[in-house]
């Protein structure tokens, strides 16, 4: 099993340097990816990274450091840097290392079939998917690229309190980035799938989806400004959910950066809105049996029927709030410090088909894609104003494609004004967290476009 013995000496060195408690976190990741472009495998990547992080308590402060170098000298420098950082800190928060030893709900592992897939098969799949894009529509342009990849990662967590935990996961993904030329304009759409098994990736389905979406954009134009009902597609709704997810973090609330501070138990959303954080295996592929501090994870509703049931806590923020950790300590890599983050975080699907949401909207717009969320959305205020494209809804049915519009609103007010939830839950590409939403009908948002 895991090579804990290799890293035990770092804990010893930390104790000798005066740390009362210490923890070592080891991350390794491997990845392979290839892009097909103009019938050739053009951009092949083979990745291998590993690093070691140390954190520990010295004078009541938690010092951190990390290194990608190995050996005694590098580890001595690691301990020295962590001690120097601890000496700088003035935090008034009580800090913890976990000493529990519960049995975990499930054992994580990389699917054996994933490791057996040869580079040649991945290259062949990318080339096949690009060929299928071209076969789907003669207007597919040379900018089209298709990427196929696999990723695996593993981490070890060991501390002076006896904690020893390990975690591994892997996934395969395929992405079709279709560029379609019609007249003097180009249209771009991206479709993708990911799975723990390479065999689940169907290039025909992904290629067709990307090309059909691009074809549906042909002739898109702006539309007159106005306030109107909006149906967010799962992709667009997910952009908003993932951008604003940090407002559910107890850390952000305690720092005064989230308006949800002090709102637990209060109604903050429409009754049709329930949001789950579910760390189980499967789902969005960001599940994990224990969190970044080693605390077992748990499934919970964050919003239940419109009521904020809990924030996401780690050991430090839970202690500060007089609660117990919800198992949401985050630690995406050896270079990150411990914060809070969701696992598989999703809006529970409702009972409506997308067509029923368009019918309820009457006259409005379906937003399919939002751009620039890193700049145009402000988690501190909840305000967003984002460039968007989508489809007009006229008389309850989808009509012409629109582009070059902005949709503006406020995330908190939007949660309150969700009128109906679709049944088409879809997850985005998993990272440290995975986000999923179905289509959402929102009462009214401001759309800015070009007035005729």
């Amino acid at each position: 099993m895991a090579d804990y013995a290799k890293y035990e000496p770092i804990l010893e060195m930390a104790k000798a340097a005066g740390f009362s408690r210490a923890e070592v976190f080891v991350c390794t990741s491997e990845a392979f990816s290839v892009s097909a472009h103009k019938g050739k495998a053009e951009d092949l990547r083979v990745e291998r990274r590993s690093g070691v992080a140390l954190r520990g308590l010295l004078g009541g402060q938690m010092g951190y450091a990390a290194t990608e170098a190995e050996g005694e000298a590098a580890y001595a420098e690691l301990v020295r840097a962590a001690a120097e950082n601890a000496a700088l800190l003035e935090s008034q928060d009580e800090q913890f290392l976990y000493d529990g030893d519960e049995k975990l709900a499930w054992v994580s592992a990389v699917d054996g079939s994933l490791l057996a897939v040869s580079p040649e098969r991945k290259i062949a799949l990318a080339l096949e998917m690009e060929r299928l894009c071209k076969a789907e529509d003669p207007r597919i342009a040379s900018g089209t690229t298709c990427e196929v990849g696999t990723t695996t990662s593993a981490c070890l967590l060991l501390n002076t309190e006896g904690l020893r935990r390990e975690f591994a996961r892997g996934a395969a993904y395929a992405v079709a980035d279709a560029v379609l030329a019609d007249g003097d304009r180009q249209y771009e759409e991206v479709a993708y799938r990911f799975s723990r098994k390479f065999e689940d990736l169907d290039p025909a389905v992904i290629a067709r989806e990307a090309v059909q979406m691009a074809a549906a954009d042909v002739g898109s134009a702006s539309m007159p400004s106005g306030a109107m009902p909006v149906v967010f597609s799962p992709e667009a709704a997910r952009t908003l959910l993932s951008t604003f997810a940090e407002v559910f973090s107890a850390e952000e609330c305690q720092r005064g950066f989230s308006l949800l501070a002090g709102k637990e138990g209060e109604k903050i959303a429409a009754p049709c809105v329930t949001i789950w954080d579910d760390p189980s295996d499967g789902l969005g592929l960001a599940g994990r049996p224990f969190d970044g501090e080693g605390v077992p994870t748990q499934k919970k509703a964050v919003i239940q029927d419109g009521v904020l049931t809990t924030l996401l806590y780690n050991l430090k923020t839970a202690h500060k709030a007089g609660k117990t950790s919800t198992g949401n300590a985050s630690r995406p890599s050896h270079l990150s410090t411990v914060g809070t983050a969701p696992t598989n975080f999703y809006i529970a699907p409702g009972g409506f088909a997308p067509e029923e949401l368009y019918a309820k909207a009457g006259d409005g717009v379906r937003i399919d894609e939002l751009q620039g969320a890193h700049a145009g959305a402000n988690p501190i205020s909840g305000d967003f104003s984002l460039s968007a494209k989508g489809v007009r809804i006229r008389g309850g049915k989808l009509a012409e494609p629109v582009t070059q519009i902005t949709v503006s609103g406020n995330f908190y007010r939007m949660l309150e004004s969700v009128q109906a939830v679709g049944k088409d839950l879809k997850f985005g590409v998993p990272g440290a967290s995975a986000f999923g939403t179905p289509s959402l009908l929102v009462e009214r948002l401001d759309i800015a476009g070009k007035d005729e």
Binding site: N85, L259, G372, S385, T406
Partner: protein, 462 residues
């Protein structure tokens, strides 16, 4: 950083499967962050990252492998993993590297690691105190210093072997102004490709006050009206408009794939006559500057637009092969986990001759964007969007009141023609640009300019 013969051995292994070119990039980086929140030092982290990336080319086919294992064996294994993409292994050619010397235009006077953490903490405390002193409505201040000292070694099968060092230091101060129900923030974030001497030269109290003032202005602003209108964009970070609307579409990553709106337009008018723009990686100690790019090509000053006419693209080695054009010192990457691609360095619209007051006085009704936020662009369609961090409504040529929540959207190819005034007060500002090869430090910049019509997104109809 690694022995010459280890580099030669790795490059030789990389060439075994029919590559026509291979390159090795090794970096060893010491980086640190320190953060202040609630007027206390709440976070400090230091990391040493080091790794190597090997890229092989056969025509425009490339493969890239990276590893943290810098032993001869580890480098050779990465080289073989990259080479395996091109075919089966044959003879390994002999590679001889010749050590070259990089020019040094960006001296590092004081290594960040040599400065005690206490000094960083003092700077953050001054910014915090100055921001809070401005108003009781400033309820939170977060301030941080990031520093990075990067040593790189670049070698390739043309015999190149060069080493360089870079330091990046930056201070970020964000002030949050709060009422009962609202939070608004203002940020200042100067940085340089220089050592700690850059931070010692800053007036951090002034930066704290400036961030706080912007947050307070926005707290008391009403939502921006939406619609198409003339917009005056202030200097400095206002240059993000050019970065997004035009700069990305001039990178070989999109031009070389025939997917940029500016493909085949060299020598043609792509902007109004008053527009001149450059990408200049040679400005001493500027945040986006380099001695050598990440492929070992010296940084240079690239004229992009002259009197509205397109003069050049930003070209890396792969782009050079695709486009048949010379490299422009534009190959950059976040770190060894990314293969380099064509990127901007310090990119800005040059100073013009128009009067700054006149362009507002004659604009009629519109928006004055005193401070821009971030944005993004789709290089295929040229569609961009960016946010206005501090905006003011202009009525009948007069600035009347602050407005918030505005965003500007449009198409790069169109907006460049709609620039009808270019002022004299050129200034640059710092950002981190995210693209295919990760986040890299860049300067954006411009003087005050006016665009005759842009679609403004906002929460109220005008």
């Amino acid at each position: 950083m690694i022995a010459k013969h280890d580099a030669e051995f790795a490059l030789s292994r990389a060439m075994r499967t029919g590559a026509d070119f291979a390159e090795l990039f090794v970096e060893d980086v010491e980086s640190g962050t320190i953060k202040l929140l609630d007027s206390r030092i709440e976070g400090a982290n230091r990391a040493r990252t080091r790794g190597a990336g090997i890229r092989v080319f056969r025509g425009v086919e490339t493969a890239y492998a990276y590893t943290n294992d810098l032993t001869a064996k580890g480098l050779a294994a990465a080289a073989e993993a990259a080479a395996a993409a091109l075919g089966t292994a044959g003879e390994a050619p002999r590679i001889s590297l010749v050590r070259g010397v990089a020019p040094n235009r960006h001296p590092i006077l004081r290594l960040p690691a040599d400065v005690p953490g206490k000094r960083r903490a003092e700077l953050l405390r001054s910014a915090d105190a100055a921001a809070r002193a401005l108003s009781p409505e400033i309820r939170q201040v977060s301030a941080g210093i990031t520093d990075e000292y990067q040593r790189v070694l670049i070698a390739n099968t043309e015999g190149l072997l060069v080493q360089d060092e870079r330091a990046h230091t930056r201070l970020v101060c964000t002030a949050v102004a709060s009422s009962e129900t609202e939070n608004q923030y203002g940020t200042e974030s100067p940085g340089a490709q220089a050592g700690f001497e850059f931070l010692e030269g800053l007036d951090v109290a002034y930066l704290g006050r400036k961030a706080a003032k912007s947050a307070l202005t926005m707290l008391h602003a009403r939502p921006c009206p939406a619609g198409a209108m003339p917009v005056v964009i202030e200097n400095g970070f206002g240059g993000v408009i050019f970065h997004e609307a035009c700069g990305h579409s001039l990178e070989a990553t999109s031009v070389g794939l025939d997917s940029s709106v500016f493909c085949g337009k060299l020598g043609q008018k792509i902007a109004a006559d008053c527009v001149n723009a450059v990408d200049d990686g040679t400005i001493p100690n500027a945040w986006g500057s380099l001695n050598l790019d990440d492929e070992g090509t010296p940084a240079q000053r690239n004229v992009l637009i002259e009197n509205g006419v397109l003069k050049g693209y930003l070209v890396d080695r792969l782009g050079s092969r695709r486009m048949g054009m010379a490299r422009t010192g534009s190959a950059r990457r976040q770190d060894y986990t990314f293969a380099p691609t064509s990127r901007m360095t310090n990119t800005f619209i040059c100073a013009g001759e128009d009067d700054g007051d006149e362009m507002i006085a004659t604009m009629g009704d519109g928006l004055y964007a005193a401070k821009m936020g971030g944005g993004s662009v789709n290089p295929v369609t040229g569609e961009f969007n960016f946010t206005v961090a501090e905006g003011y409504l202009v009525r009948d040529g007069k600035i009347v009141e602050p407005v918030r929540g505005a965003s500007l959207i449009g198409k790069g190819s169109e907006i460049l023609f709609h620039i009808d005034r270019v002022g004299k007060n050129l200034a640059r500002a710092q950002g981190v640009c995210g693209s295919l090869s990760g986040g890299v430090p860049v300067d954006v910049g411009q003087p005050r300019i006016r665009v005759s019509s842009i679609t403004v997104g906002g929460r109220e109809r005008g």
